[in-house]
Symmetry: C2
Subunit: 165 residues, 2 copies
């Protein structure tokens, strides 16, 4: 809860600093990215996970090991595309918003938890997986669940192939 | 570690915003205060502690139950005054600075963890204990240990007495 409240103080501070929700969202995403880039070492050291062999395994790992370890919750995972590179993490309960009743009207576009997207993006990049990560649904905005979308951008094989050309 | 890194991002953000270390310290203390005021409910709900009968018991409770619960460490406690209202929490290890090597030269007066002082002050106030809380030593500044000083300002009995006059 100390973490949850400290996170709230961070978001409040950014809202004071930036007038536009988009700027707050972008800043949270950037901060999250820097955190993810460093957090991945801690994750690999403490989780003892093996190398993932597919995007699907990677998404499961994020949901079942990483979210559990750092936030104490386990989102469910669904695959959203036939190409198998788009996934959703669906949270019934988001501990980061425990103390947030609802977003104020003038902050309707704020992605309160956008830091998480940056963290995931940064951490994935450190294991050579480029991804786009964003909130698709948010209970704070009246949606039934909170849904984080992860789109893996390119297979490592493709990249290696290109580099060898 | 996600908390530790997020806290680091908060401090970095405040350093961007405020030129003077004193202003950053004051802001962290204020934020901590607001957090402590809310965190106390969570603490009382989850710790099942009984009412403390002395300042000494209160200081032990902060060190052995609250620090353990929220930061995973247990500072040692020492009493610093014959009047029995000044205590030190001494931390050999401060998890909040796990990723901080040392303070940059231009931030020599920064109390990096000042949020904690505010949290303690805010939480104590909610149980009707006025206190001054500040860092007396800080390993980030080259001291051998990190030491948080708590000075209880007035006994609740005194206050009640005065109010009844």
């Amino acid at each position: 809860e100390l973490f949850v409240l400290t996170y709230g103080a961070l978001v409040a501070q950014l809202c004071k600093e930036y007038e536009k929700d988009e700027d707050v969202n972008a800043c949270l995403d950037r901060m999250g990215y820097s955190i993810g880039v460093r957090l991945i070492d801690d994750f690999l050291a403490h989780s003892a996970v093996k190398k993932c062999r597919s995007y699907s395994e990677t998404a499961d790992m994020i949901a079942q090991v990483a979210f559990k370890m750092y936030l104490g919750v386990t989102p469910s995972v669904s695959c959203n595309s036939v190409t198998g590179n788009e996934f959703s993490l669906i949270l019934d309960k988001n501990p980061l918003v425990d103390f947030v009743e609802e977003l104020p009207a003038e902050r309707a576009s704020l992605c309160y938890c956008n830091l998480l997207c940056g963290v995931i993006r940064g951490a994935l990049e450190m294991v050579h997986l480029a991804a786009e990560v964003s909130f698709l649904q948010d209970r704070l905005k009246g949606d039934a669940v909170t849904e984080i979308g992860i789109t893996f951008l390119r297979k490592p094989e493709d990249r290696r192939h290109r580099r060898n050309k």
